[in-house]
Protein backbone atom coordinates (compact mmCIF):
# COMPACT_ATOMS: atom_id res chain seq x y z
CA UNK A 1 0.00 0.00 0.00
CA UNK A 2 1.38 3.35 -1.08
CA UNK A 3 -0.51 6.36 0.23
CA UNK A 4 0.23 10.06 0.36
CA UNK A 5 0.21 10.22 4.14
CA UNK A 6 2.67 10.97 6.92
CA UNK A 7 1.44 8.22 9.23
CA UNK A 8 -1.73 6.22 9.65
CA UNK A 9 -2.34 7.97 12.97
CA UNK A 10 -2.20 11.53 11.61
CA UNK A 11 -4.23 11.13 8.42
CA UNK A 12 -7.27 13.06 9.57
CA UNK A 13 -5.37 15.84 11.32
CA UNK A 14 -3.01 16.31 8.37
CA UNK A 15 -5.85 16.41 5.86
CA UNK A 16 -7.65 19.01 7.96
CA UNK A 17 -4.47 21.11 8.02
CA UNK A 18 -4.58 20.99 4.24
CA UNK A 19 -8.26 21.86 4.14
CA UNK A 20 -7.55 24.84 6.38
CA UNK A 21 -4.72 26.05 4.15
CA UNK A 22 -6.84 25.68 1.02
CA UNK A 23 -10.02 27.31 2.31
CA UNK A 24 -9.70 30.59 4.19
CA UNK A 25 -13.50 30.79 4.21
CA UNK A 26 -13.60 27.82 6.57
CA UNK A 27 -12.65 27.76 10.22
CA UNK A 28 -10.82 24.50 10.76
CA UNK A 29 -9.63 23.03 14.04
CA UNK A 30 -7.44 20.12 12.94
CA UNK A 31 -6.82 18.89 16.49
CA UNK A 32 -10.39 19.23 17.69
CA UNK A 33 -11.67 18.09 14.27
CA UNK A 34 -14.28 20.72 13.75
CA UNK A 35 -14.88 22.54 10.48
CA UNK A 36 -17.24 25.49 10.40
CA UNK A 37 -17.92 28.63 8.41
CA UNK A 38 -15.28 31.27 9.08
CA UNK A 39 -18.03 33.85 9.51
CA UNK A 40 -19.51 31.93 12.45
CA UNK A 41 -23.18 30.99 12.88
CA UNK A 42 -25.82 33.09 11.15
CA UNK A 43 -28.03 34.67 13.80
CA UNK A 44 -31.63 33.56 13.49
CA UNK A 45 -30.83 30.85 10.95
CA UNK A 46 -31.33 27.17 11.67
CA UNK A 47 -27.92 25.55 11.88
CA UNK A 48 -26.95 22.41 9.98
CA UNK A 49 -24.39 20.01 11.41
CA UNK A 50 -23.19 16.78 9.96
CA UNK A 51 -20.35 14.46 10.73
CA UNK A 52 -19.23 10.93 10.33
CA UNK A 53 -16.13 8.88 9.83
CA UNK A 54 -13.41 10.28 7.58
CA UNK A 55 -12.48 8.62 4.30
CA UNK A 56 -15.54 9.94 2.43
CA UNK A 57 -14.12 13.25 1.26
CA UNK A 58 -15.38 15.78 0.24
CA UNK A 59 -18.21 14.62 2.57
CA UNK A 60 -18.84 16.32 5.04
CA UNK A 61 -16.30 19.10 5.56
CA UNK A 62 -16.31 19.93 1.85
CA UNK A 63 -19.98 20.86 2.15
CA UNK A 64 -19.56 23.49 4.84
CA UNK A 65 -20.42 26.95 3.59
CA UNK A 66 -23.19 29.23 2.44
CA UNK A 67 -26.31 27.31 1.49
CA UNK A 68 -25.27 24.01 2.98
CA UNK A 69 -23.71 22.98 6.31
CA UNK A 70 -22.74 25.32 9.11
CA UNK A 71 -20.35 22.86 10.70
CA UNK A 72 -19.00 19.36 10.29
CA UNK A 73 -17.08 17.04 12.58
CA UNK A 74 -14.95 14.36 10.93
CA UNK A 75 -14.12 11.25 12.91
CA UNK A 76 -11.24 8.87 12.46
CA UNK A 77 -11.17 6.92 9.18
CA UNK A 78 -14.49 5.05 8.94
CA UNK A 79 -15.23 5.79 12.60
CA UNK A 80 -18.06 7.97 13.75
CA UNK A 81 -16.93 11.12 15.57
CA UNK A 82 -17.45 11.31 19.33
CA UNK A 83 -20.26 13.21 21.05
CA UNK A 84 -17.94 16.00 22.24
CA UNK A 85 -17.10 16.89 18.65
CA UNK A 86 -20.77 16.95 17.75
CA UNK A 87 -21.53 19.22 20.68
CA UNK A 88 -18.76 21.62 19.67
CA UNK A 89 -19.89 21.60 16.04
CA UNK A 90 -23.45 22.24 17.17
CA UNK A 91 -22.29 25.24 19.16
CA UNK A 92 -20.43 26.55 16.09
CA UNK A 93 -23.61 26.18 14.03
CA UNK A 94 -26.10 27.51 16.50
CA UNK A 95 -27.57 30.84 15.43
CA UNK A 96 -30.29 30.61 18.06
CA UNK A 97 -32.94 28.96 15.88
CA UNK A 98 -32.04 25.36 16.63
CA UNK A 99 -29.73 22.93 14.89
CA UNK A 100 -30.41 20.01 12.57
CA UNK A 101 -28.15 16.99 12.88
CA UNK A 102 -27.77 15.20 9.56
CA UNK A 103 -26.89 11.65 10.55
CA UNK A 104 -26.06 8.79 8.23
CA UNK A 105 -27.71 5.62 9.46
CA UNK A 106 -24.87 3.62 10.97
CA UNK A 107 -24.99 2.28 14.50
CA UNK A 108 -21.95 4.31 15.51
CA UNK A 109 -23.15 7.58 14.04
CA UNK A 110 -26.63 7.10 15.43
CA UNK A 111 -25.48 6.29 18.97
CA UNK A 112 -22.91 9.07 19.17
CA UNK A 113 -25.28 11.69 17.76
CA UNK A 114 -27.90 10.47 20.23
CA UNK A 115 -25.55 11.01 23.15
CA UNK A 116 -24.55 14.39 21.69
CA UNK A 117 -28.15 15.50 21.25
CA UNK A 118 -28.78 14.77 24.93
CA UNK A 119 -25.80 16.92 25.88
CA UNK A 120 -26.93 19.73 23.54
CA UNK A 121 -30.44 19.61 24.94
CA UNK A 122 -28.97 19.90 28.45
CA UNK A 123 -27.31 23.09 27.24
CA UNK A 124 -30.66 24.34 25.97
CA UNK A 125 -30.03 23.97 22.24
CA UNK A 126 -33.03 22.77 20.26
CA UNK A 127 -31.98 19.78 18.18
CA UNK A 128 -33.72 17.95 15.36
CA UNK A 129 -32.29 14.97 13.56
CA UNK A 130 -32.63 13.51 10.11
CA UNK A 131 -31.44 9.95 9.56
CA UNK A 132 -30.20 9.36 6.04
CA UNK A 133 -30.77 5.77 4.89
CA UNK A 134 -30.81 5.57 1.12
CA UNK A 135 -28.74 2.50 0.26
CA UNK A 136 -31.05 -0.11 -1.22
CA UNK A 137 -28.33 -2.76 -1.10
CA UNK A 138 -29.33 -3.28 2.51
CA UNK A 139 -32.81 -4.49 3.39
CA UNK A 140 -34.56 -2.22 5.84
CA UNK A 141 -35.70 -4.92 8.25
CA UNK A 142 -35.34 -5.93 11.92
CA UNK A 143 -32.66 -8.32 10.69
CA UNK A 144 -30.32 -5.47 9.79
CA UNK A 145 -29.13 -2.21 11.27
CA UNK A 146 -31.33 -0.62 8.61
CA UNK A 147 -30.37 0.86 5.27
CA UNK A 148 -27.08 2.72 5.17
CA UNK A 149 -26.75 6.44 4.55
CA UNK A 150 -24.65 7.11 1.45
CA UNK A 151 -25.05 9.41 -1.56
CA UNK A 152 -28.36 10.96 -0.52
CA UNK A 153 -26.50 12.73 2.26
CA UNK A 154 -25.30 15.27 -0.30
CA UNK A 155 -28.84 15.90 -1.48
CA UNK A 156 -30.15 16.22 2.08
CA UNK A 157 -27.39 18.61 3.11
CA UNK A 158 -27.79 20.76 0.00
CA UNK A 159 -31.56 21.00 0.01
CA UNK A 160 -32.04 21.32 3.77
CA UNK A 161 -29.19 23.83 3.74
CA UNK A 162 -31.05 25.92 1.18
CA UNK A 163 -34.22 25.75 3.24
CA UNK A 164 -32.33 26.92 6.32
CA UNK A 165 -30.61 29.68 4.37
CA UNK A 166 -34.05 30.75 3.16
CA UNK A 167 -35.19 31.26 6.74
CA UNK A 168 -37.30 28.16 7.33
CA UNK A 169 -37.76 27.19 11.00
CA UNK A 170 -36.19 24.03 12.44
CA UNK A 171 -39.27 21.85 12.05
CA UNK A 172 -39.58 22.79 8.39
CA UNK A 173 -35.88 22.29 7.67
CA UNK A 174 -36.10 18.87 9.31
CA UNK A 175 -39.23 18.04 7.34
CA UNK A 176 -37.59 18.97 4.03
CA UNK A 177 -34.50 16.97 4.97
CA UNK A 178 -36.61 13.90 5.71
CA UNK A 179 -38.57 14.36 2.53
CA UNK A 180 -35.36 14.41 0.48
CA UNK A 181 -34.21 11.25 2.20
CA UNK A 182 -37.55 9.55 1.67
CA UNK A 183 -37.39 10.36 -2.06
CA UNK A 184 -33.78 9.20 -2.51
CA UNK A 185 -32.19 5.80 -3.13
CA UNK A 186 -28.63 4.66 -3.88
CA UNK A 187 -26.72 1.61 -5.02
CA UNK A 188 -22.94 1.15 -5.23
CA UNK A 189 -20.61 -1.15 -7.16
CA UNK A 190 -16.92 -1.72 -6.48
CA UNK A 191 -14.31 -2.79 -9.02
CA UNK A 192 -11.61 -2.84 -6.34
CA UNK A 193 -11.77 -2.58 -2.56
CA UNK A 194 -10.24 0.28 -0.64
CA UNK A 195 -7.23 0.09 1.65
CA UNK A 196 -7.40 1.72 5.06
CA UNK A 197 -4.22 3.46 6.19
CA UNK A 198 -4.10 1.44 9.41
CA UNK A 199 -4.54 -2.05 7.99
CA UNK A 200 -2.62 -1.36 4.78
CA UNK A 201 -4.44 -4.11 2.94
CA UNK A 202 -7.50 -4.08 0.68
CA UNK A 203 -10.64 -4.63 2.78
CA UNK A 204 -11.56 -7.48 0.43
CA UNK A 205 -9.91 -9.16 -2.54
CA UNK A 206 -11.45 -9.19 -6.00
CA UNK A 207 -10.20 -11.25 -8.91
CA UNK A 208 -9.31 -9.82 -12.30
CA UNK A 209 -12.88 -10.14 -13.53
CA UNK A 210 -14.80 -9.93 -10.26
CA UNK A 211 -16.76 -7.03 -8.87
CA UNK A 212 -18.72 -6.49 -5.71
CA UNK A 213 -22.36 -5.40 -5.98
CA UNK A 214 -24.12 -3.33 -3.35
CA UNK A 215 -21.11 -2.01 -1.50
CA UNK A 216 -21.34 0.69 1.10
CA UNK A 217 -18.77 3.37 1.76
CA UNK A 218 -16.72 1.72 4.48
CA UNK A 219 -14.87 -0.92 2.55
CA UNK A 220 -17.25 -3.59 3.75
CA UNK A 221 -18.06 -6.26 1.19
CA UNK A 222 -21.37 -5.80 -0.60
CA UNK A 223 -24.46 -7.82 -1.19
CA UNK A 224 -22.88 -10.26 -3.62
CA UNK A 225 -19.96 -10.88 -5.90
CA UNK A 226 -20.47 -10.87 -9.64
CA UNK A 227 -18.64 -10.95 -12.94
CA UNK A 228 -17.29 -7.75 -14.43
CA UNK A 229 -19.47 -6.28 -17.18
CA UNK A 230 -19.38 -3.23 -19.38
CA UNK A 231 -20.42 0.23 -18.21
CA UNK A 232 -23.85 0.00 -19.78
CA UNK A 233 -24.70 -3.19 -17.92
CA UNK A 234 -23.26 -2.01 -14.63
CA UNK A 235 -25.23 1.22 -14.90
CA UNK A 236 -28.33 -0.89 -15.49
CA UNK A 237 -27.64 -3.05 -12.44
CA UNK A 238 -27.32 -0.01 -10.21
CA UNK A 239 -30.25 1.90 -11.67
CA UNK A 240 -32.52 -1.13 -11.65
CA UNK A 241 -31.73 -1.80 -8.00
CA UNK A 242 -32.78 1.76 -7.20
CA UNK A 243 -35.83 1.58 -9.42
CA UNK A 244 -36.97 -1.69 -7.89
CA UNK A 245 -37.09 -0.08 -4.48
CA UNK A 246 -38.52 3.24 -5.63
CA UNK A 247 -39.94 3.43 -9.15
CA UNK A 248 -38.40 6.35 -10.98
CA UNK A 249 -40.51 8.74 -12.99
CA UNK A 250 -40.79 12.43 -13.70
CA UNK A 251 -37.96 14.78 -12.85
CA UNK A 252 -35.07 13.03 -11.19
CA UNK A 253 -31.97 14.41 -9.54
CA UNK A 254 -29.22 11.93 -10.35
CA UNK A 255 -25.74 11.62 -8.95
CA UNK A 256 -23.11 9.32 -10.42
CA UNK A 257 -20.57 9.32 -7.66
CA UNK A 258 -17.00 8.09 -7.75
CA UNK A 259 -15.81 6.07 -4.78
CA UNK A 260 -12.37 7.71 -4.64
CA UNK A 261 -10.18 5.88 -7.12
CA UNK A 262 -12.30 6.18 -10.27
CA UNK A 263 -11.35 8.70 -12.94
CA UNK A 264 -13.93 11.25 -14.06
CA UNK A 265 -13.93 10.00 -17.64
CA UNK A 266 -15.33 6.65 -16.44
CA UNK A 267 -17.99 8.35 -14.32
CA UNK A 268 -19.15 10.27 -17.37
CA UNK A 269 -19.42 7.03 -19.31
CA UNK A 270 -21.60 5.54 -16.55
CA UNK A 271 -23.67 8.70 -16.40
CA UNK A 272 -24.35 8.56 -20.15
CA UNK A 273 -25.83 5.08 -19.71
CA UNK A 274 -27.82 6.07 -16.63
CA UNK A 275 -29.33 9.07 -18.40
CA UNK A 276 -30.25 7.01 -21.42
CA UNK A 277 -31.81 4.21 -19.39
CA UNK A 278 -33.74 6.67 -17.26
CA UNK A 279 -35.28 8.40 -20.23
CA UNK A 280 -36.13 4.97 -21.63
CA UNK A 281 -38.32 4.59 -18.53
CA UNK A 282 -40.10 7.87 -19.07
CA UNK A 283 -38.15 9.65 -16.35
CA UNK A 284 -35.86 12.61 -16.95
CA UNK A 285 -32.51 13.69 -15.56
CA UNK A 286 -33.63 17.10 -14.38
CA UNK A 287 -30.49 17.86 -12.34
CA UNK A 288 -27.26 15.94 -11.93
CA UNK A 289 -23.90 15.60 -10.27
CA UNK A 290 -21.05 13.57 -11.74
CA UNK A 291 -17.88 13.29 -9.70
CA UNK A 292 -16.45 12.31 -6.33
CA UNK A 293 -18.83 13.40 -3.57
CA UNK A 294 -19.19 10.52 -1.11
CA UNK A 295 -16.10 8.35 -1.38
CA UNK A 296 -14.67 5.29 0.27
CA UNK A 297 -10.97 6.14 0.49
CA UNK A 298 -9.39 4.87 -2.75
CA UNK A 299 -12.09 2.39 -3.70
CA UNK A 300 -12.58 1.93 -7.44
CA UNK A 301 -16.19 1.95 -8.47
CA UNK A 302 -19.24 4.14 -8.42
CA UNK A 303 -22.61 4.63 -6.87
CA UNK A 304 -25.82 5.98 -8.31
CA UNK A 305 -28.21 8.07 -6.26
CA UNK A 306 -31.60 9.18 -7.54
CA UNK A 307 -34.01 11.61 -5.91
CA UNK A 308 -37.55 12.21 -7.13
CA UNK A 309 -37.74 15.98 -7.40
CA UNK A 310 -40.74 18.10 -6.67
CA UNK A 311 -40.87 21.70 -7.84
CA UNK A 312 -40.02 22.86 -4.34
CA UNK A 313 -37.08 20.52 -4.03
CA UNK A 314 -35.76 21.54 -7.45
CA UNK A 315 -35.95 25.19 -6.44
CA UNK A 316 -34.03 24.48 -3.23
CA UNK A 317 -31.48 22.43 -5.19
CA UNK A 318 -30.93 25.37 -7.54
CA UNK A 319 -30.52 27.86 -4.71
CA UNK A 320 -27.02 29.34 -4.35
CA UNK A 321 -24.39 27.25 -2.65
CA UNK A 322 -20.81 28.17 -1.87
CA UNK A 323 -18.75 25.34 -0.39
CA UNK A 324 -15.43 23.75 -1.33
CA UNK A 325 -17.12 20.91 -3.19
CA UNK A 326 -20.42 22.37 -4.44
CA UNK A 327 -20.75 25.88 -5.79
CA UNK A 328 -23.24 27.61 -7.92
CA UNK A 329 -25.56 30.52 -8.27
CA UNK A 330 -23.60 33.04 -6.28
Amino acid sequence: MKKLINSAETVVTDALRGLAAAHPDLRVDPGGRIVSRACGPTPGKVGLVSGGGSGHEPLHAGFVGYGMLDAACPGEIFTSPVPDQMVTATAAANGGAGVLHVVKNYTGDVLNFELAADLCAEEGVEIARVLVDDDVAVRDSPDTAGRRGTGATVFVEKIAGAAAEGGAPLAEVARVAREVNARSRSFGIALEACTTPVSGRPTFELGETEIELGVGIHGEPGRSRAAMRDARELAAVALDAVNEDMPLSGDVLVMVNGLGGTPLIELHIVFAEIAERLSGRGARVARSLVGDYVTSLDMRGFSVTACLLSEDLARLWDAPVQTPALRWGR
Binding site: V82, Y106, T203
Partner: protein, 221 residues
Amino acid sequence: MDTALLTRWITGIAETVRANRERLTELDAAIGDADHGVNLDRGFGAAVQALAEEPPVSPGALLRLVGGTLIRRVGGASGPLYGTAFREAGRHLGSLGDSPEVSPAELARALRAGLDGVTRLGSAAEGDKTMVDALAPAVRALESATASPAAARAVAEEREAFEAAASAALAGAEATIPMVARKGRASYLGPRSAGHEDPGAASCALVFAALLSAVNDPGQG
Protein backbone atom coordinates in the same frame (compact mmCIF):
# COMPACT_ATOMS: atom_id res chain seq x y z
CA MET B 1 -12.12 -5.54 45.06
CA ASP B 2 -10.69 -2.02 45.14
CA THR B 3 -9.56 0.68 42.75
CA ALA B 4 -6.10 -0.87 42.57
CA LEU B 5 -7.51 -4.12 41.27
CA LEU B 6 -9.82 -2.35 38.83
CA THR B 7 -6.96 -0.15 37.63
CA ARG B 8 -4.96 -3.33 36.96
CA TRP B 9 -8.01 -4.59 35.06
CA ILE B 10 -8.28 -1.53 32.81
CA THR B 11 -4.51 -1.48 32.29
CA GLY B 12 -4.68 -5.16 31.42
CA ILE B 13 -7.46 -4.52 28.92
CA ALA B 14 -5.39 -1.78 27.31
CA GLU B 15 -2.42 -4.14 27.04
CA THR B 16 -4.34 -7.07 25.60
CA VAL B 17 -6.22 -4.82 23.19
CA ARG B 18 -2.92 -3.37 22.01
CA ALA B 19 -1.52 -6.88 21.58
CA ASN B 20 -4.67 -7.99 19.73
CA ARG B 21 -5.13 -4.78 17.76
CA GLU B 22 -4.39 -6.34 14.39
CA ARG B 23 -6.48 -9.42 15.09
CA LEU B 24 -9.52 -7.35 16.09
CA THR B 25 -9.07 -5.12 13.05
CA GLU B 26 -8.81 -8.16 10.80
CA LEU B 27 -12.02 -9.58 12.26
CA ASP B 28 -13.67 -6.24 11.60
CA ALA B 29 -12.26 -6.13 8.06
CA ALA B 30 -14.02 -9.39 7.28
CA ILE B 31 -17.51 -8.28 8.25
CA GLY B 32 -17.18 -4.59 9.16
CA ASP B 33 -14.93 -1.67 8.40
CA ALA B 34 -11.54 -2.68 9.76
CA ASP B 35 -11.29 -0.29 12.67
CA HIS B 36 -12.36 -2.12 15.83
CA GLY B 37 -8.83 -2.83 17.08
CA VAL B 38 -7.72 0.74 16.48
CA ASN B 39 -10.87 2.11 18.09
CA LEU B 40 -10.46 0.17 21.32
CA ASP B 41 -6.70 0.72 21.42
CA ARG B 42 -7.31 4.47 21.28
CA GLY B 43 -10.08 4.24 23.89
CA PHE B 44 -8.46 2.04 26.53
CA GLY B 45 -5.15 3.83 26.07
CA ALA B 46 -6.95 7.06 26.89
CA ALA B 47 -8.70 5.39 29.84
CA VAL B 48 -5.40 4.25 31.36
CA GLN B 49 -4.06 7.77 30.98
CA ALA B 50 -7.16 9.27 32.58
CA LEU B 51 -6.84 6.90 35.53
CA ALA B 52 -3.20 7.86 35.96
CA GLU B 53 -3.90 11.57 35.78
CA GLU B 54 -6.62 11.61 38.41
CA PRO B 55 -6.84 8.26 40.23
CA PRO B 56 -10.49 7.74 41.22
CA VAL B 57 -11.33 7.13 44.84
CA SER B 58 -13.86 4.32 44.40
CA PRO B 59 -14.54 1.46 41.99
CA GLY B 60 -17.77 3.23 40.97
CA ALA B 61 -15.96 6.47 40.16
CA LEU B 62 -13.30 4.50 38.30
CA LEU B 63 -15.81 2.71 36.10
CA ARG B 64 -17.62 6.00 35.38
CA LEU B 65 -14.35 7.64 34.41
CA VAL B 66 -13.46 4.75 32.11
CA GLY B 67 -16.94 4.78 30.56
CA GLY B 68 -16.90 8.52 30.01
CA THR B 69 -13.42 8.35 28.48
CA LEU B 70 -14.47 5.62 26.07
CA ILE B 71 -17.51 7.63 25.04
CA ARG B 72 -15.41 10.74 24.59
CA ARG B 73 -12.53 9.09 22.72
CA VAL B 74 -13.58 6.02 20.76
CA GLY B 75 -16.43 6.96 18.43
CA GLY B 76 -17.94 4.31 16.17
CA ALA B 77 -20.43 1.83 17.56
CA SER B 78 -18.13 0.35 20.15
CA GLY B 79 -17.38 3.69 21.84
CA PRO B 80 -20.89 4.45 23.07
CA LEU B 81 -21.58 0.78 23.77
CA TYR B 82 -18.46 -0.08 25.76
CA GLY B 83 -18.58 3.38 27.28
CA THR B 84 -22.15 2.80 28.42
CA ALA B 85 -21.28 -0.62 29.80
CA PHE B 86 -18.59 0.82 32.08
CA ARG B 87 -20.50 3.99 32.90
CA GLU B 88 -23.70 2.22 33.83
CA ALA B 89 -21.74 -0.25 35.93
CA GLY B 90 -20.14 2.68 37.71
CA ARG B 91 -23.45 4.44 38.11
CA HIS B 92 -24.90 1.35 39.71
CA LEU B 93 -22.10 1.37 42.29
CA GLY B 94 -22.65 5.10 42.71
CA SER B 95 -26.30 4.54 43.50
CA LEU B 96 -25.14 2.23 46.29
CA GLY B 97 -22.91 4.89 47.82
CA ASP B 98 -19.60 4.35 46.04
CA SER B 99 -17.85 2.30 48.71
CA PRO B 100 -14.06 1.98 48.26
CA GLU B 101 -14.28 -1.81 48.16
CA VAL B 102 -16.84 -3.95 46.34
CA SER B 103 -17.47 -7.67 46.47
CA PRO B 104 -17.43 -9.89 43.39
CA ALA B 105 -21.20 -10.20 43.73
CA GLU B 106 -21.53 -6.42 43.76
CA LEU B 107 -19.31 -6.19 40.68
CA ALA B 108 -21.48 -8.82 39.00
CA ARG B 109 -24.58 -6.72 39.68
CA ALA B 110 -22.79 -3.62 38.42
CA LEU B 111 -21.84 -5.41 35.21
CA ARG B 112 -25.44 -6.54 34.85
CA ALA B 113 -26.39 -2.83 34.93
CA GLY B 114 -23.72 -2.25 32.30
CA LEU B 115 -25.15 -5.01 30.12
CA ASP B 116 -28.62 -3.55 30.50
CA GLY B 117 -27.25 -0.19 29.36
CA VAL B 118 -25.73 -1.80 26.29
CA THR B 119 -28.91 -3.58 25.25
CA ARG B 120 -31.00 -0.48 25.97
CA LEU B 121 -28.74 1.65 23.76
CA GLY B 122 -28.03 -0.84 21.00
CA SER B 123 -31.13 -3.03 21.33
CA ALA B 124 -29.17 -6.13 20.42
CA ALA B 125 -30.29 -9.47 21.83
CA GLU B 126 -28.15 -12.56 22.26
CA GLY B 127 -27.82 -14.27 18.92
CA ASP B 128 -27.56 -11.02 16.99
CA LYS B 129 -23.78 -11.51 16.64
CA THR B 130 -22.56 -8.59 18.73
CA MET B 131 -20.55 -7.96 21.86
CA VAL B 132 -23.72 -8.87 23.75
CA ASP B 133 -23.11 -12.51 22.82
CA ALA B 134 -19.97 -12.47 24.95
CA LEU B 135 -21.03 -9.92 27.56
CA ALA B 136 -24.36 -11.49 28.54
CA PRO B 137 -23.07 -15.03 29.26
CA ALA B 138 -20.07 -13.60 31.10
CA VAL B 139 -22.30 -11.53 33.36
CA ARG B 140 -24.57 -14.52 33.92
CA ALA B 141 -21.62 -16.72 34.84
CA LEU B 142 -20.29 -14.17 37.28
CA GLU B 143 -23.72 -13.68 38.82
CA SER B 144 -24.38 -17.37 39.40
CA ALA B 145 -20.88 -18.06 40.69
CA THR B 146 -21.20 -15.24 43.20
CA ALA B 147 -24.82 -15.90 44.15
CA SER B 148 -24.13 -17.67 47.43
CA PRO B 149 -23.45 -15.41 50.48
CA ALA B 150 -19.91 -14.02 50.45
CA ALA B 151 -19.10 -15.35 53.90
CA ALA B 152 -19.57 -18.88 52.62
CA ARG B 153 -17.08 -18.50 49.77
CA ALA B 154 -13.34 -19.03 49.77
CA VAL B 155 -10.94 -16.82 47.84
CA ALA B 156 -10.31 -19.74 45.50
CA GLU B 157 -13.98 -19.89 44.69
CA GLU B 158 -13.97 -16.22 43.81
CA ARG B 159 -11.21 -16.84 41.32
CA GLU B 160 -13.30 -19.63 39.89
CA ALA B 161 -16.14 -17.16 39.42
CA PHE B 162 -13.94 -14.92 37.29
CA GLU B 163 -12.61 -17.95 35.45
CA ALA B 164 -16.20 -18.92 34.69
CA ALA B 165 -16.94 -15.41 33.42
CA ALA B 166 -13.83 -15.38 31.22
CA SER B 167 -14.61 -18.75 29.67
CA ALA B 168 -18.26 -17.84 29.20
CA ALA B 169 -17.20 -14.69 27.34
CA LEU B 170 -14.74 -16.66 25.22
CA ALA B 171 -17.31 -19.34 24.44
CA GLY B 172 -19.86 -16.64 23.66
CA ALA B 173 -17.45 -14.96 21.28
CA GLU B 174 -16.68 -18.21 19.51
CA ALA B 175 -20.37 -18.96 19.27
CA THR B 176 -20.81 -15.84 17.13
CA ILE B 177 -18.87 -17.47 14.29
CA PRO B 178 -21.79 -19.31 12.65
CA MET B 179 -24.30 -16.56 13.45
CA VAL B 180 -25.88 -14.31 10.85
CA ALA B 181 -25.59 -10.75 12.13
CA ARG B 182 -28.72 -8.75 12.84
CA LYS B 183 -27.12 -5.65 14.35
CA GLY B 184 -24.22 -3.34 13.48
CA ARG B 185 -22.32 -3.24 10.22
CA ALA B 186 -22.04 -7.00 9.89
CA SER B 187 -25.82 -7.14 9.40
CA TYR B 188 -25.36 -5.47 5.99
CA LEU B 189 -23.79 -8.69 4.80
CA GLY B 190 -26.77 -10.84 5.66
CA PRO B 191 -25.89 -14.54 5.27
CA ARG B 192 -22.34 -13.59 4.21
CA SER B 193 -21.66 -12.56 7.81
CA ALA B 194 -21.74 -16.21 8.92
CA GLY B 195 -18.37 -17.89 9.32
CA HIS B 196 -16.65 -14.95 11.00
CA GLU B 197 -16.22 -14.14 14.67
CA ASP B 198 -17.78 -10.85 15.72
CA PRO B 199 -15.01 -8.37 16.56
CA GLY B 200 -16.93 -6.79 19.45
CA ALA B 201 -17.59 -10.19 20.98
CA ALA B 202 -13.91 -11.05 20.55
CA SER B 203 -12.84 -7.87 22.31
CA CYS B 204 -15.36 -8.52 25.08
CA ALA B 205 -13.71 -11.90 25.70
CA LEU B 206 -10.41 -10.02 26.09
CA VAL B 207 -12.05 -7.72 28.63
CA PHE B 208 -13.07 -10.66 30.82
CA ALA B 209 -9.73 -12.41 30.35
CA ALA B 210 -8.11 -9.23 31.64
CA LEU B 211 -10.46 -9.19 34.62
CA LEU B 212 -9.40 -12.72 35.50
CA SER B 213 -5.73 -11.75 35.21
CA ALA B 214 -6.28 -8.73 37.43
CA VAL B 215 -7.93 -10.92 40.07
CA ASN B 216 -5.15 -13.51 39.87
CA ASP B 217 -2.39 -10.91 39.95
CA PRO B 218 -1.65 -9.80 43.54
CA GLY B 219 -0.52 -6.43 42.16
CA GLN B 220 2.05 -4.06 43.59
CA GLY B 221 -0.04 -1.26 45.06
